[in-house]
């Protein structure tokens, strides 16, 4: 009981700091709208010159639905603590965790959870608004059970993405200038997770690879679920893959951090 207390308190601190920067959050929300416009014009041009009704198996309304939902999902699962972690590694901020009876990973996780809670609530409202709108404009069929499953997979996806970027942040142990690397990693992760367009356009071979990597399950999978493109057995399979990847990523992140910490305590903060 007492022991959990410190992490609950950290969650609260996360909520508080996300409130402190709410303006930033709303502006970033607004910024997700712009790529959707670009996508609209891009896909309109593509579909006008297309020889068939569908492109990569998507009709024009389906493609636009995908663009809107994937933009929202990308925002939902995005992290933003990478620079903070690298700062902690570089400036010795980790010291305060080493000398206190609190773990860095659970601290980061609960802080992230706290920061995410408000975002998640707001974004889920936005998502529901969006699918209602899409339902009226492009005729998306809303299946309530899928909406519930969507929320579940989103929570798993958020945790997956947390683990991916927590592991990537460990490069701070070896490199001092990481901005370019993080930017690359972020964009690459968005592309291969289907955050801009469905990964189907990469072709079968690459798709097969992406199917076993974790990225797709942070964005495209929840979107396809909501978009009625997955059967229930495929949904179950996807969720299983999410869980397996969460376990794997936890192990990977932990071992990278263990190596990094060894280096850290050898040279000092």
């Amino acid at each position: 009981m007492k022991k959990q207390n410190k992490y609950i308190e950290t969650v609260k601190i996360g909520i508080q700091s996300s409130m402190a920067y709410r303006m930033n959050f709303f502006l970033s929300l607004l910024s997700t709208a712009f790529p959707i416009f670009i996508q609209f014009f891009l896909w309109r041009a593509v579909f006008e010159h297309a020889t068939s009704e569908t492109v990569y198996g998507y009709t024009f309304p389906q493609m636009l639905t995908y663009a809107v939902l994937s933009a929202i999902t990308t925002k939902l699962v995005s992290t933003g603590f990478e620079y903070e972690i690298v700062g902690d590694i570089k400036d010795g901020g980790l010291n305060k965790f080493i000398v206190r009876p609190i773990g860095y990973f659970p601290y980061r996780a609960s802080c992230f959870l706290g920061e995410k809670i408000m975002q998640l609530i707001i974004m889920l409202v936005v998502t529901i608004g969006a699918i209602m709108g899409i339902h009226y404009i492009w005729g998306l069929i809303i299946v309530p059970i899928r909406v519930v499953l969507f929320i579940v997979t989103i929570l798993l996806a958020v945790y997956m993405n947390f683990l991916i970027f927590y592991a990537i942040s460990a490069v701070g142990f070896w490199l001092t200038e990481v901005a370019a690397l993080f930017e690359c990693a972020r964009i690459l992760a968005i592309i291969v997770s289907g955050g801009i367009f469905p990964t189907d356009i990469f072709g079968d071979k690459i798709c097969k690879i992406l199917n076993v990597l974790p990225f797709k399950y942070t964005t495209q999978y929840p979107v396809d679920l909501l978009n009625n493109r997955l059967s229930y057995s495929e949904i179950g399979q996807g969720m299983l893959i999410q869980i397996v990847w969460i376990i794997l990523l936890m192990l990977i992140a932990q071992s990278i951090w263990r190596i990094g910490m060894k280096k850290y305590v050898a040279v000092g903060g």
């Binding site: 007492k2 022991k3 207390n5 410190k6 609950i8 308190e9 950290t10 601190i13 508080q16 700091s17 402190a20 400036d91 010795g92 901020g93 010291n95 305060k96 080493i98 000398v99 206190r100 009876p101 609190i102 060894k262 305590v265 050898a266 040279v267 000092g268 903060g269």
Partner: protein, 363 residues
């Protein structure tokens, strides 16, 4: 007895740690609260010479160098002691404190704090000590200090009552009641340092390592923090190891000082005896009735200042009496005083020395 292992790479790490923990069991009885023996830390770094050509050369060939940040240091600190830990910049003070707090692994040697090996990072150990680094903040920047304290309460798993009592007491001592609700980033440097101290002491640690707690503070804030530390040390019987570049801090708080230079122990003992180690002279101030020629004085000692009627001389301790007698007989003396060389000068002398003194001498 255990043998010391000189470790060069991380893979043998565990072996050393097992040895060390066996050491504790054997020697647990009769140990000082902080026990440091043969503690050493080496850092690897790469050499780069000036210029573009060398930058390119560095891409494919880097010369690896080893720096002895801390080299075979020994000292013991008893419970309740307030010890000044001094040395010039880069002497290895912070490195030593980091090893004592478990942030760094040593390259060789051992250390025990309250019977724990710091770098094993046992929870019981963490709950009983604290480290404050004046140049690094441990508070949550965006939140009021009060929230940080509360989080610390949860981290250290303190009882509500004990937490509230300690907090009230510390807040009272440092006089920061009105500032508890202010976002930390809006506090002044001095106010923030006081908050850092509260955050570091909220769990009533038995051992406190203070690394430049007064750095950058004005004289009044320095004084307040000093007074606070003095009271805390006395009332709580806390053991404190303090580094500071302000002599006032040290003279006011520490009877004993440990001085290191270039990673080696240069002095360990009473602050007032720093000069005995090397200084063979005393400062003699003379006041005359009428002006005395400079020449007439230099045969007695080295001239430190000459202002007509008042003169300061540095004189040899040996046959000081004889020489003073002569001065009194020959010169028109009104008044004179004999003083020790100021302790700052003694410490500065130890700082400037290229090589630290051998251990035996320092003891």
């Amino acid at each position: 007895m255990c043998t010391r292992v000189n470790r060069r790479d991380d893979s043998t790490n565990t072996v050393v740690r097992i040895n060390l923990s066996r050491c504790i069991k054997e020697e647990e009885i009769g140990l000082a609260l902080i026990h440091v023996e043969g503690l050493s830390k080496q850092f690897e770094y790469y050499k780069k010479e000036l210029g573009l050509r060398n930058s390119i050369k560095n891409l494919y060939h880097r010369e690896r160098l080893i720096k002895d940040a801390v080299c075979n240091i020994n000292f013991d600190i008893e419970e309740g002691e307030f010890v000044g830990f001094l040395g010039p910049n880069g002497a290895g003070k912070t490195t030593t404190l980091k090893m004592l707090s478990g942030i760094l692994y040593p390259t060789a040697g051992k250390a025990e704090v309250m019977g724990y090996v710091p770098w094993e990072r046992k929870k019981e150990f963490k709950k009983q000590f604290s480290i404050v680094m004046g140049q690094k903040n441990q508070l949550w920047w965006d939140l009021p200090a009060h929230d940080s304290f509360y989080l610390n309460k949860c981290i250290y798993e303190l009882e509500d009552k004990a937490y509230q009592e300690t907090l009230d007491e510390l807040v009272d001592l440092l006089d920061v009641k009105d500032l508890l609700g202010v976002q930390v980033r809006r506090l002044s440097l001095g106010e923030r340092m006081k908050m850092e101290l509260i955050a570091a002491l909220i769990h009533r640690p038995k051992v406190i390592l203070l690394d430049e707690p007064t750095i950058g503070l004005d004289i009044i804030s320095q004084k307040k923090i000093r007074e606070f530390l003095k009271i805390y040390n006395k009332e709580k019987k806390a053991t404190i190891l303090l580094t500071s570049h302000y002599m006032n801090d040290i003279e006011d708080l520490c009877r004993r000082v440990v001085i290191i230079n270039q990673g080696k122990l240069a002095y360990d003992g009473d602050l007032s005896h720093v000069n005995d180690l090397f200084s063979q002279s005393k400062i003699v101030k003379l006041n005359f009735e009428e002006v005395v020629a400079e020449k007439a004085l230099t045969k007695f000692g080295t001239m430190k200042s000459y202002e007509g009627l008042s003169v300061t001389l540095e004189m040899d301790k040996q046959n000081l009496k004889e020489k003073l007698k002569q001065i009194l007989e020959v010169l028109p003396i009104v008044d004179f005083t004999i003083e020790d060389i100021p302790v700052e000068e003694g410490i500065a002398y130890l700082y400037q020395k290229k090589e630290g003194m051998p251990d035996e001498e320092a003891k």
